[in-house]
Amino acid sequence: MPQTHASGQPYEDDAPEPAVAPAKAENTDALDSLLDEIDDSLQVNAEQFVRSFVQKGGQ
């Protein structure tokens, strides 16, 4: 029975999923400028893009 990491868990019992971590200073700028670009792209066509992304099943 593995019991190597029973402690030190980062979340409270009643939290179903992790909250977004506070952005670290080093990557804040990089992520922010990428998010700007994502915003520009997605404001226009997100719904249409999602609707039209249809693939055939594979293996």
Partner: protein, 513 residues
């Protein structure tokens, strides 16, 4: 050192024409790949993927081969793969099943309604990462050629789901000893395949095969796993696939075909996917009974439990009656596998394995540069915060998981070339194990230490002699007295040379035609 390889089925779309036929696009893409490769490409040898099954019925040992074929290999030792003759037939190719065998030993072809890159055989996880990255570069080069030739845009996606119910695979292959009991192997490997997703998952917006429920989960493929063991790959997909085509000596080897894994745009997950699984297989081959304590009580629900639990705190029941979290099971596997590290590449895998497990246990977001689902979740979380609704009382409501912007970010994440994962990498936010020059080299050249080197050598140096090539065969077309094609059998995936092909691939003597 364990022979392994990765096959990737890419999503394919014409951004301007969503209704475009994916089989036709894939076929034209493979044609474009051939154009890009110039003369250095070969057709696929459908003559028999497993010569030891003797499906052609007329295989001869080297000793019985026509003397005409022996002249190029005076040093032939009688132990290497045999050579047989094959009658010439027409050279028709089914346009829906076009292939390009490339000078790096890989196969680029149409599989179902997707273009697929099957990387060359490699001996370790680091090389698997490198030739996987080479596959992305080749697919991108083919797409550029397609656009130039066809005058149409084309986008390729390295993911596994469309969010509408379709899934397509990224498969791993591992050579394992035939004498290992398969049922035992399935039982012992399953806990690893179920729990490794906390490190290797690519992340997915949507729960359920058709995204019936809103939310985010760790793995692309988890919800499509419906059986513990089985032969299928397109329906009722199993955690352990039983397909048995070794492409090698059947009496010695089995090729384990793993279909549960996600396509990864990050390199650390690819390294861990291949490297940790290879080490667990070594523990299984050694009959390490410590693996018994990790056997799962109910693997299929456990795949879903692990994938849907972003806190990494959920326990899954063990056959022993106890229970454990995915991280606990991974930590126990790491401890066992330390004893099976045999070379520097294995030690690299162990170091990353431990580092990533530590980070995930400390704070999953501290693993954002290494673990793809965490990086995707972080970016999605930031987007949800950016556009949160702020109520008059000051409380904040994040963007709902059902919002199309989140689904679009998820899908566009894996687009080759300009997807969000690629942009995150360019912004220095992703751990990279390869570099541009190594990838460029792996686009052009095969690994040196497997039979891929043999296959690739002739395609690189004397492509005009190659009629077709497969995993375990190269078919040679040259003027001979017997007038037939010569099939060189590459039965041993470890053999990086073959006297017949090495002789043919050596520089032409002065004055020879």
């Amino acid at each position: 050192m364990r022979i392994c390889g990765i096959e990737t089925e890419y999503g394919i779309a014409d951004p301007a024409r969503p209704q475009a036929n994916p089989i036709l696009m894939s076929s034209r893409l493979v044609e474009a790949c051939r154009t890009w490769a110039g003369e250095h490409t070969a057709r696929w040898d459908y003559g028999g993927e497993d010569p030891l099954q003797d499906q052609r019925g007329h295989r001869r040992a080297r000793a019985q081969a026509h003397p005409d074929m022996l002249t190029d290999a005076p040093e032939f030792d009688g132990q290497a793969g045999g050579v047989s003759l094959r009658k010439r037939r027409g050279s028709w190719e089914d346009p829906a099943h076009l292939n390009a065998v490339l000078s790096n030993g890989a196969r680029f072809y149409v599989d179902h309604a997707h273009p697929e890159y099957s990387g060359p055989e490699v001996t370790n996880a680091r090389d698997a990462v490198l030739w996987d990255a080479a596959g992305d570069a080749i697919a991108l080069a083919a797409a550029r050629q397609y656009t130039e030739t066809e005058g149409l845009p084309l986008a390729l996606y390295k993911n596994n789901v469309d969010g509408k119910g379709a899934s397509y695979g990224t498969h791993e292959n591992f050579l394992i000893r035939r004498d290992v009991d398969f049922e035992q192997l399935a039982t012992w490997l399953t806990p690893h395949l179920v729990t490794r997703q906390v490190m290797t998952g690519a992340g997915r917006v949507g729960l359920g095969q058709r995204g019936e429920h809103d939310g985010f989960q760790i793995s692309q493929r988890a919800d499509y796993m419906e059986a513990e063991v089985g032969l299928e790959t397109t329906l009722r997909r199993p955690i352990i696939n039983t397909r048995d085509e070794p492409h090698a000596d059947r009496s010695q080897w089995r090729r384990l075909h793993v279909i549960i894994g996600d396509a990864n745009c990050f390199e650390v997950p690819t390294l861990l996917k291949m490297g940790t699984t290879a080490l667990v297989l070594s523990a299984i081959e050694a009959g390490d009974e410590r693996l018994d304590s990790l056997v799962l009580a109910d693997p299929v629900p456990a795949v879903h439990t692990v994938s849907h639990d972003l806190s990494l705190r959920a326990s899954v029941p063990l056959a022993s009656g106890e229970s454990a979290t995915a991280l606990e099971i991974q930590r126990a596997l790491l401890a066992i596998c330390r004893e099976y590290a045999a070379d520097a590449a294995d030690h690299t895998v162990l170091a990353h394995w431990e580092r990533v497990l530590d980070a995930l246990a400390r704070d999953p977001f501290s693993a954002a540069k290494d673990v793809e689902w965490v990086a995707k979740l972080q970016l999605l979380g930031r987007l949800r915060e950016r556009h949160a609704t702020v109520h008059p009382d000051g409380t904040q409501e994040l963007v709902e998981w059902a919002d199309a912007r989140l689904a679009a970010l998820d899908l566009q994440w894996s687009r080759l070339g300009d997807g969000w994962a690629a942009k995150l990498l360019a912004a220095g936010q992703v751990t990279r194990l390869t570099d541009d020059s190594a990838v460029a080299s792996a686009v052009a050249r095969a690994p040196r230490d497997t039979r891929a080197a043999v296959r690739a050598r002739l395609i690189a140096l004397r492509p005009e002699l190659v009629d077709a090539a497969g995993w375990s065969s190269v078919v040679i077309d040259r003027p001979t007295a017997h007038g037939e094609l010569e099939v060189v059998h590459l039965d041993d995936p470890h053999a990086s040379s073959h006297p017949v092909i090495d002789a043919l691939a050596s520089p032409r003597p002065t004055g020879a035609v």
